[in-house]
């Protein structure tokens, strides 16, 4: 009698994606695909230097180029109080530079013209006279007592320090170190990188003076936040602002912040009274929009001889670039860095964090993670391996001894988080079995005969995903809830709208599956719509793996509200009291007589055509969900690698991923997320970084310097699953899209270090390019910091 949930595309169905139907036909609708009548095109002139005072800007030759409609400078923005804008971290950032340029690639002028070629030509005609200032390209230079002040625009700013911040119990941690048998230390740099979605950022602003309505099509992961910010900055009434986030060609955190190009395009549309399109080029994207990481991490672990961890100290120095524009929703200055060691039962810990301005691109984003969790977990797993090595203990056994046990949940971490569920040892066991851990010593000896070095690297971690709860997480004061609105039409078909915004993450497919699970309406009968602030309920968008934990929960809750009303309609149709009604998937029936029932579709029809006296017609509702806690997925990643000592090249022989993200709504999409994340982890360990030379020139501002792995070098991944439902989530799900990027890099790096263990090498900082591995191998010394920039002479 009851429906087959997988057949109707409910929970657990590897339903093929709805959105694919347009993408495989080339019928996606990305911002650059949208054309409005009379549309103009904008290009941005960027600073060629890292740090300079602007002496003068001459735009007259640009105005003379036929087809140019408008040339905007910082002064013109300033006249409208738009030269600076607030950042998501309560700092300010320049929209178009007025006084100084503070990083290479900074926005200086904008040209609006009939086509993008003309706009680019005219940018080339603008003459800017710069007085060069000394550039600061790392925190050590920034902290120097005689360092030039980058942010001389800010009243009260002293030097280049942004913050000092600490958390944890210092006295108790000091005591733990006094009592330790062994103290293990490690010092790392997590290099600067870029999320680099395939599609760059862009917008199409359309201001209609007749109606006062501003419509902006925009590459954003959080359209409602953009609307709120535009209302604040542009002082337009919120009801007259419509932000549409159409198909997004990848985000990974890069499309959370509000960038100068968006603001300038909006003003240009207001001034020209025409739609203005701005599509950033790849170099613009790589050199000026939200980067990730760039943190120096130092720490130590107090250990007992038997392997028990007694305490941890961490010290972080982060490089934020020219403006403190971290896109993060927490109250903690260094994001969720203190989620480090959450999977381990550690009595006490202390962390000290410092942040600096430099003459580098601003706006650290959570690149495919909750903010700073990637750095935290990388440090954690490198520290754990170093500690196991220092104790002479097996790296798997050391983890086993210190893991939080299943029955210890809910568990308060040393830094104050509350983890609520997990089966860490089970995941580790599955991983070790799959990689053939027992036979590894023999395998390694066999490889040594061939002159090859084998290594195995483990990374196990639980990470906080799905901000937030409203007590601790907000953006510009707006709490980190999310929303869903469900309307059931009279035929029993439905439309669902949410405040989240997918960016290739399959929401149109999985969100319908949650409704199918709750109501028994086939997923194919449910249209999912997101990204238009005129129609979607207010939500905080998609990043930090928060869609399923927060919006996904809101969807389950709104479906339950709808079901509660449908129950009343069923009682009316079946002529019994509501208390005598039972529910099975897709259907209500009379208790004791399962044959006598009505479907959810019958109830939908009745809601419009046959409702009981006094009942409000219709079948729809809205739910806003404020999660009680973050969700805590767990992952165990194990890499087996082989180094060719002649060249330093390392190959991945096998990679095993065991993910516990709670209940899986669509297993196919979950696995797709994990494989994608592991590829970015591999990229990070291997090749994907940005650095700056001493003059502040960016290295990694195009795809010739900024390397992303292709199908050729990317290894295969073996995936395994464990399911520990999230105890507080309505359908037991946890976040998953970011676990692999967060936990993956340490598995690769630990594997290379394991292979080099006998060579006296303790650490090579990412990227582990063959020349760096070769250097470590031949000198027996660690390799620290960024690869040096080789200049032409």
């Amino acid at each position: 009698m009851s429906l087959d949930e997988v057949k109707i595309g409910g929970m657990g169905a590897s339903r093929r994606r709805v959105e694919d139907n347009r993408f495989i036909r080339g019928k996606g609708n990305y911002v650059d695909d949208i054309v409005l009548p009379g549309m103009l095109h904008m290009e941005i002139l960027r600073s060629p230097v890292a740090h300079a005072r602007i002496k003068s800007i001459d735009t007259s030759a640009a105005w003379d180029v036929p087809g140019v409609r408008l040339v905007l400078t910082g002064e013109m923005m300033a006249a409208r109080n738009l030269a600076w804008m607030p950042t998501l971290s309560y700092d300010t950032a320049a929209v178009l530079a007025t006084d100084k340029v503070r990083f290479q690639g900074q926005e200086v002028c904008a040209v609006i013209a009939d086509d993008p070629y003309i706009a680019k030509d005219a940018c080339g005609k603008i003459v800017v006279d710069y007085e060069i200032l000394p550039p600061i390209v790392n925190p050590v230079q920034a902290a120097a007592p005689d360092a030039v002040q980058i942010r001389d625009d800010k009243a009260g700013q002293v030097g280049n320090k942004i913050f000092d911040w600490e958390i944890g119990d210092k006295a108790r941690t000091d005591k733990a170190f006094q009592d330790a048998d062994v103290v293990s230390k490690i010092e790392l740099h997590y290099p600067r990188t870029h999320p680099s979605p395939m599609e760059t950022c862009g917008s199409l602003a359309d201001y209609d003076r007749a109606t006062g309505k501003l419509t902006v099509y925009l590459t954003t992961q959080a359209p409602h936040i953009v609307r709120a910010a535009v209302a604040m900055v542009a002082e337009l009434p919120e009801q007259n602002i419509r932000i549409v986030s159409p198909d997004i060609g990848g985000g990974f955190g890069n499309k959370v912040p509000i960038y100068p190009g968006y603001v300038v395009a909006i003003l240009a549309s207001i001034l020209t009274e025409k739609p203005v399109k701005w599509i950033e080029d790849k170099t613009g994207n790589l050199t000026s929009t939200g980067f990730g990481r760039d943190v120096y991490l130092k720490g130590e672990m107090a250990l007992r001889k038997d392997g028990k961890i007694l305490g941890v100290r961490m010290n972080t120095i982060s490089d934020h670039g020219a403006f403190f524009a971290d896109a993060q929703p927490s109250k903690f200055k260094i994001g969720l860095m203190h989620s480090a060691f959450a999977a381990y039962d550690i009595p006490t810990a202390h962390m000290f964090a410092t942040g600096y301005y430099t003459n580098k691109a601003p706006g650290g984003v959570a690149y495919r993670c909750s903010f700073r969790v990637t750095e935290a977990m990388f440090f954690q797993e490198r520290m754990v391996q170093a500690a196991a090595d220092d104790l002479g203990m097996d790296q798997a056994e050391f983890r086993r001894v210190n893991f939080v046990k299943d029955e210890q949940h809910p568990h308060r971490t040393a830094f104050g988080f509350l983890t609520d569920s997990g089966q860490y040892e089970k995941c580790l066991d599955i991983g070790l079995e799959a990689i053939g851990y027992k036979n590894f010593a023999a395998e390694k000896a066999e490889a040594a005969k061939r002159g090859r070095l084998l290594g195995i690297g483990i990374s196990t971690m639980t990470e906080p995903l799905g901000a937030g709860n409203s007590r601790e997480y907000d953006i510009l004061g707006i709490k980190m809830f999310d929303s869903a609105e469900l309307r059931i039409h009279m035929s029993g078909k439905a439309i669902l709208r949410t405040g989240s915004r997918g960016q290739g993450t399959g929401h149109e497919t999985t969100w319908a599956q949650i409704v199918a699970h709750e109501l028994g309406i086939p997923a194919d009968d449910i249209l999912v719509e997101e990204g238009d602030t005129d129609t979607a309920p207010f939500g905080m968008g998609t990043y930090a793996s928060r869609s399923t934990p927060v919006a996904g929960a809101a969807i389950a809750m709104v479906a339950r509200k709808v079901r509660a009303k449908a129950r009343k309609l069923a009682a009316h149709l079946l002529e019994v009291s509501e208390e005598d009604i039972e529910w099975e998937l897709g259907r209500f029936y009379v208790r004791g007589n399962q044959e006598r029932g009505v479907t959810i579709q019958d109830c939908a029809m009745a809601a419009y055509s046959n409702m009981p006296d006094g009942m409000e017609p219709g079948l729809e509702n809205v739910a806003y969900y404020d999660p009680p806690n973050l969700t805590w997925p767990f992952a165990c990643y194990i890499a087996k690698i082989e180094i060719d000592p002649e060249t330093g090249v390392w190959d991945v022989l096998q990679f095993v991923a065991v993910d516990d993200c709670g209940v899986r709504i669509n297993p196919m999409i979950v696995e797709g997320q994990i494989m994608g994340g592991l590829t970015e982890a591999y990229a990070m360990a291997n090749m994907q970084y940005q650095t700056y030379d001493e003059e502040g020139n960016i290295i990694g501002g195009n795809y010739m310097d900024f390397l992303l792995p292709t199908a050729w070098e990317t290894p295969g991944f073996e995936l395994y699953e464990v399911v520990t439902p999230c105890p507080h989530h309505p359908i037991g799900a946890k976040g998953v899209g970011e676990c692999a990027t967060v936990g993956g890099p340490a598995a690769f790096v630990n594997a290379v270090m394991d292979a080099l263990k006998d060579k006296g090498v303790r650490n090579i900082d990412m990227p582990l390019m063959p020349n760096r591995v070769y250097e470590a191998l031949t000198t027996g010394k660690d390799v620290y910091g960024m690869p040096p920039v080789r200049s032409g002479n």
């Binding site: 695909d33 087809g67 979605p197 060609g249 990848g250 592991l678 195009n702 292709t710």
Partner: protein
């Protein structure tokens, strides 16, 4: 493009020559007046309104703009439209027939070989060129053939599977 009415927005600088090109796009002759510096990707997207060909990096690195040029995969962001005059160009919009998807399109959906969809048209066109030469490729041959196309979401594993899926279907259709 209708010749009934075309407003000339801005006075063109007299020193910009205009060239007329005729390109066979997806089996249909398309003619346009272009500036010699106009890139093929931009003519396809803005001129011919075939927006399935995406501009990713503008530097021949990412492959999102891959189309078939006389059957060979090329990156249309680094070819001038005038260079395509008199040639055949196939874009993603030409893959499916009116009633049927191309096996690569089916395979990409079936094997979950796409997420954000931005690299997908280029990936499928590069794969099509491979399968036209070799209907029984190995995994390595597929990976090599697609190594000029970057994907940021999927990790390639499922893309390789999708191409294998399509190859199998195309072989079956031949028999």
């Amino acid at each position: 493009m209708s010749s009934l009415y075309e407003e000339i927005n801005a006075p063109l600088a007299s020193d910009i020559p205009i060239r007329r090109v005729t390109i066979n796009v997806n089996g249909e002759a398309r003619t346009a007046n272009v500036e010699p510096r106009l890139l093929l990707a931009h003519l396809l997207r803005q001129g011919f309104k075939l927006t399935g060909t995406h501009s990713g990096c503008d530097t021949t690195s990412c492959g999102a703009c891959t189309v078939l040029f006389d059957g060979r995969p090329i990156k249309s962001c680094t070819m001038f439209a005038v260079q395509a005059d008199g040639h055949d160009v196939q874009t993603v919009e030409g893959l499916a027939s009116a009633s049927e998807l191309h096996p690569l399109q089916e395979g990409f959906k079936q094997e979950h070989a796409l997420q954000c969809g931005f690299c997908t048209p280029g990936m499928m066109m590069a794969a099509k060129a491979l399968l036209e030469e070799n209907l029984n490729p190995t995994e390595d041959e597929i990976r090599w053939a697609l190594s000029g196309n970057l994907c940021r979401c999927t990790g390639y594993q499922n893309i390789v599977k999708a191409v294998l899926w399509a190859a199998e279907k195309m072989r079956a259709e031949l028999n």
